[in-house]
C-alpha cells in the first residue's frame, strides 16, 4: 500500500518493534493499494488472513458491518484499557463503528490553507485571507490565463480533494436524517459547502484538472501545481510542506505559509482522517496484533513514533504524542505546523461517522464536486446525487 519515503518509514517502525518486542515477530508485506482490499478479502475467505492490515478508514464501516474485521473491545484490557481515552476524539471517531472500536490510526491527517508568499506579494495582498469572501477575492487576483492556456491558478477548491475534505469547514460532516440515512439535500452545512464549490465554476476546471494531473503523474502524486509554484492557495495537509515541497521543489521551501482554512463553523476545524490498522476476521494472533497496532498508534511509544512523523508529515493520534519532545522539536523548527496541531484537539473538528456505505458516500462526493465544477450538475442536483448514491450503495 506504500511506496518511497513512507515505505521506508514503515520498515523502520517494524524493525524497531521487532527489536523491542522479542516475543512477537512482525513480517511486513507491501501490497499495491489497487489490489489491497481484494487480497485481504481473499485471504480472509481462505482462512489465512494477516494479523494486521492497514486500511483507509472510509471502508471500515462496511467491513465492521459484515464481520470482515474484528472488534478490538475484547483485547482492550490491562495495559490497553486506556487506549480510547488516550486518543484525540477525532482519531477515536475514525475507528469506531456502532460505539465499538474496530481500528486504531498510526498517524492522523489535518487540513489547512497553504498560500504562496511571493504570489501573494505580487498580487498586492498584505496578509492571507481569514474569510471565505476574502479567499475568493484574493485568489481571483492570482489567476493567469492567456490564449486559452492556464499559466497560474489562484485557488480551485475541488480539483485534488473532493467535497468530503471541505465538509468540516461548513458543518457538513454527518448529515443524516432521523432514520440514519445520508441527507445532504436538507443539511444547511452541505448546502453552504455546495454553493461555495459552485462559486468557483466560472474558472476553467478542465484546465485546472489537466494541470493537476500532469504534475501528479510525473511524480507519483507528490507534485502538484502548488508544489510547482503555479498555484496561489491550496487546501492540503502537513505532508505538503513537510515532505512534498522539500522533496519535489526545494525552491518553494520558505515561500509558503499556512493558515486555518476559512470556515463557517466559528473556530479551528479539520476533517479527521488517517490510515487505520485493523485485525481481520480469523487473525491467528489478535492479542499480539492489538499490541502491535497500539504501539504503531504511539500508545506508550510516543517518543519513537512522533520522531518519525516529521518525515511522513503526519499528525499524532493523541495529545500525549503532540507533547512528546521529538514532536515539539519539529513544531519549533516549523512553526507553520502549529495550525495543523491546534485543529486536532478542536471540538469543531469532526471525523465522518463510519457507515456500511461510507465508501460509496465518498465516491459520490468526489463525483458530485466534479459535476459542480464541470457545471454538469447544479449544486442542488449534486447533493441529491450524493444522497441517492450513498443510500443505495449497499446493493449487490
Amino acid at each position: 500500500m506504500w511506496s518511497g519515503n513512507t515505505l521506508t518509514l514503515l520498515s523502520q517502525m517494524v524493525n524497531k518493534f521487532n527489536a523491542t518486542h522479542p516475543k512477537i515477530h512482525v513480517t511486513e508485506s507491501n501490497i499495491p493499494s489497487a489490489t489491497g482490499d481484494a487480497k485481504l478479502l481473499s485471504e480472509i475467505a481462505a482462512g489465512d488472513p494477516p494479523d494486521v492490515f492497514t486500511e483507509w478508514n472510509p471502508v471500515l464501516g462496511e467491513y465492521a458491518a459484515d464481520g470482515t474485521i474484528q472488534s478490538m473491545a475484547p483485547y482492550l484490557t490491562g495495559t490497553y484499557s486506556g487506549v480510547e481515552k488516550w486518543l484525540y476524539p477525532i482519531a477515536l471517531q475514525g475507528g469506531e463503528y456502532g460505539g465499538t472500536l474496530y481500528a486504531l490510526p498510526m498517524g492522523m491527517n489535518s487540513w489547512a490553507l497553504y498560500y504562496n508568499k511571493s504570489m501573494l506579494k505580487a498580487a498586492g495582498i498584505s496578509s492571507p485571507p481569514t474569510t471565505l469572501a476574502q479567499l475568493y477575492a484574493d485568489q481571483a487576483k492570482e489567476w493567469k490565463i492567456s490564449g486559452g492556456k492556464l499559466k497560474q491558478i489562484g485557488f480551485y477548491p475541488s480539483y485534488n480533494q473532493g467535497m468530503e475534505y471541505f465538509d468540516s469547514f461548513f458543518g457538513a460532516v454527518n448529515c443524516f436524517d432521523s432514520s440514519g440515512k445520508y441527507d445532504l439535500t436538507s443539511c444547511p452545512g452541505a448546502q453552504a459547502e455546495a454553493k461555495f464549490l459552485a462559486s468557483y465554476d466560472s474558472y476553467p476546471y478542465s484546465l485546472v484538472a489537466a494541470m493537476a494531473t500532469a504534475y501528479g503523474g510525473v511524480a507519483g502524486g507528490d507534485d502538484d501545481p502548488f508544489v510547482a509554484g503555479k498555484e496561489g492557495f491550496a487546501m492540503d495537509g502537513p505532508w505538503e510542506g513537510a515532505q512534498n515541497i522539500p522533496v519535489t521543489n526545494s525552491a518553494m521551501v520558505g515561500n509558503f505559509g499556512v493558515v486555518p482554512f476559512p470556515n463557517t463553523v466559528g473556530g479551528p476545524s479539520t476533517f479527521g482522517q488517517g490510515n487505520y490498522n485493523i485485525i481481520p476476521k480469523g487473525a491467528a494472533h489478535p492479542q499480539q496484533a492489538l499490541e502491535f497496532i497500539a504501539w504503531l498508534a504511539g500508545y506508550n511509544n510516543e517518543s519513537f513514533m512522533t520522531s518519525l512523523y516529521p518525515k511522513g508529515g503526519w499528525m499524532p493520534t493523541s495529545p500525549a504524542g503532540a507533547a512528546a519532545p521529538a514532536f515539539q522539536a519539529w513544531l519549533k523548527a516549523n512553526p507553520w505546523l502549529n495550525v495543523f496541531i491546534e485543529q486536532m484537539s478542536s471540538p469543531l473538528s469532526v471525523t465522518p461517522k463510519l457507515t456500511p456505505t461510507e465508501s460509496e458516500f465518498f465516491t459520490a462526493e468526489a463525483t458530485a464536486s466534479e459535476n459542480i465544477a464541470e457545471r454538469s450538475d447544479s449544486w442542488q442536483q449534486a447533493l441529491t446525487y450524493i444522497d441517492q448514491q450513498a443510500n443505495s450503495g449497499a446493493g449487490g
Partner: protein
C-alpha cells in the same frame, strides 16, 4: 456348466488406449488450468450474479435483482453508451489506420525495415507509461499538441479533461498501439500471391482496383480476425482511462467505460454480486457481437480453399 465369455483385447486396441491415455496425460495441465482458472470462475460469476456478496461470508441469493438493478442504473447506461461510442469509432478507425500503414510499409522503399521497426516500437511500450506520456502530450496549457495548434492560431481543447473531447482523445490514444495489428496485416500482405497482381495488371487493373479486387479479398480472413480482436479489446477498454482520469470516469462521467464501472463496483464498493452480473452481461454482449460478425462474415470474407 457355466461358461465365461472372454473378451480378447487386440494389440491395436491396446495401443490406441495407451495413446489416448498418454495424450490425455499430456494435455491434462491445460485441461486442469482451464477448469480451475476459466470454467470454475465462469460458473462462479454466473452464480454470484444472482446474489449479494461482498467477498466475505456467504452470498445471499437475490434472484434477478442485480440484473433489474442494472436496468435502472443511470451510471451503467452511461458506461454502456461511452463504451459503444468508443468501440463504434475506434474499431473502424484503427482497422483502417493499421491496414493503411501496413500497405505503406509493404511497399518496396529504401529503409523499409527501419520504418517497420519505428512503427512497431510504440506497441511494446507499457500502457501505463504511454498513458502518462499522453497526459503531457495533450496537456492543454503546455502540451506539444496545443502548442503546435497555437502556432496556427487555433486554441486547442482540454482533450482528456473536456467532456466533449475526452472520448475522441482516447480514440486518438488508441492509434499508439497500432503496431500489433499492423504486423499481422503486413504478414498477410506478404502472403498474397504475386501472380494475382500480375494477372490483374495484365487485365488493366489500376492500384485502387488491385487493392479492392485482389488485396482486400485475399487478406479478408485476417481483417476479420483483427476486427474481432479489436472489438473485444475496445468493449473491455479500461487501463488508459483508469490511469488518466481521476476520479474514475471524469470529466463528468464522459469516460466511465463499462469495465471502469465494473471495477468500481467490484473493487472499490465491493459489490461483487452486482459486478458479477455486469461481467456476465459483458460476456453475453461480446458473444452476440462476435457471433453476428462471424455469421455476416460469409458475405465479405474470402477463404481461398473454401468450397461454396
Amino acid at each position: 456348466m457355466a461358461s465365461t465369455a472372454v473378451h480378447k483385447v487386440t494389440p491395436t486396441r491396446l495401443i490406441r488406449w495407451r495413446q489416448t491415455r498418454l495424450g490425455l496425460l499430456f494435455i491434462s495441465p491445460w485441461v486442469i488450468g482451464f477448469c480451475v482458472f476459466y470454467l470454475y470462475p465462469f460458473f462462479a460469476t454466473l452464480y454470484y450474479s444472482f446474489t449479494t456478496f461482498t467477498g466475505i461470508g456467504n452470498p445471499v441469493f437475490k434472484g434477478l435483482a442485480n440484473y433489474s438493478g442494472l436496468l435502472h442504473d443511470a451510471t451503467f447506461r452511461t458506461a454502456l453508451f461511452n463504451t459503444f461510442y468508443y468501440t463504434i469509432i475506434e474499431v473502424p478507425f484503427s482497422t483502417a489506420a493499421a491496414l493503411g500503414l501496413a500497405l505503406l510499409l509493404n511497399m518496396n522503399v529504401r529503409g523499409q525495415a527501419v520504418y517497420r521497426t519505428l512503427f512497431y516500437i510504440p506497441s511494446i511500450v507499457p500502457v501505463v507509461a504511454s498513458s502518462l506520456i499522453f497526459v503531457w502530450i495533450f496537456q492543454p496549457s503546455f502540451g506539444i499538441v496545443n502548442s503546435l495548434l497555437s502556432d496556427v492560431h487555433i486554441n486547442g481543447p482540454a482533450w482528456f479533461f473536456s467532456i466533449p473531447w475526452s472520448k475522441p482523445t482516447f480514440i486518438l490514444l488508441g492509434l499508439w498501439g497500432l503496431g500489433q495489428p499492423m504486423v499481422i496485416y503486413l504478414a498477410a500482405l506478404q502472403g498474397v500471391p504475386k501472380e494475382m497482381y500480375e494477372v490483374a495488371l495484365l487485365e488493366g487493373a489500376g492500384p485502387w482496383q488491385r487493392l479492392r479486387k485482389v488485396t482486400i479479398p485475399m487478406i479478408s480472413p485476417i481483417i476479420l480476425f483483427n476486427v474481432i480482436l479489436s472489438l473485444v479489446l475496445s468493449i473491455q477498454y479500461f487501463t488508459q482511462a483508469q490511469v488518466i482520469e481521476s476520479p474514475s470516469g471524469s470529466p463528468g462521467s464522459s469516460t466511465m467505460f463499462y469495465v471502469t464501472y465494473y471495477y468500481q463496483q467490484a473493487f472499490t464498493d465491493l459489490h461483487l454480486g452486482y459486478a458479477s452480473a455486469m461481467a456476465f452481461l459483458l460476456f453475453i454482449l461480446v458473444l452476440i457481437i462476435t457471433v453476428v460478425l462471424l455469421k455476416t462474415s460469409r458475405r465479405w470474407v474470402y477463404y481461398e480453399n473454401e468450397q461454396r
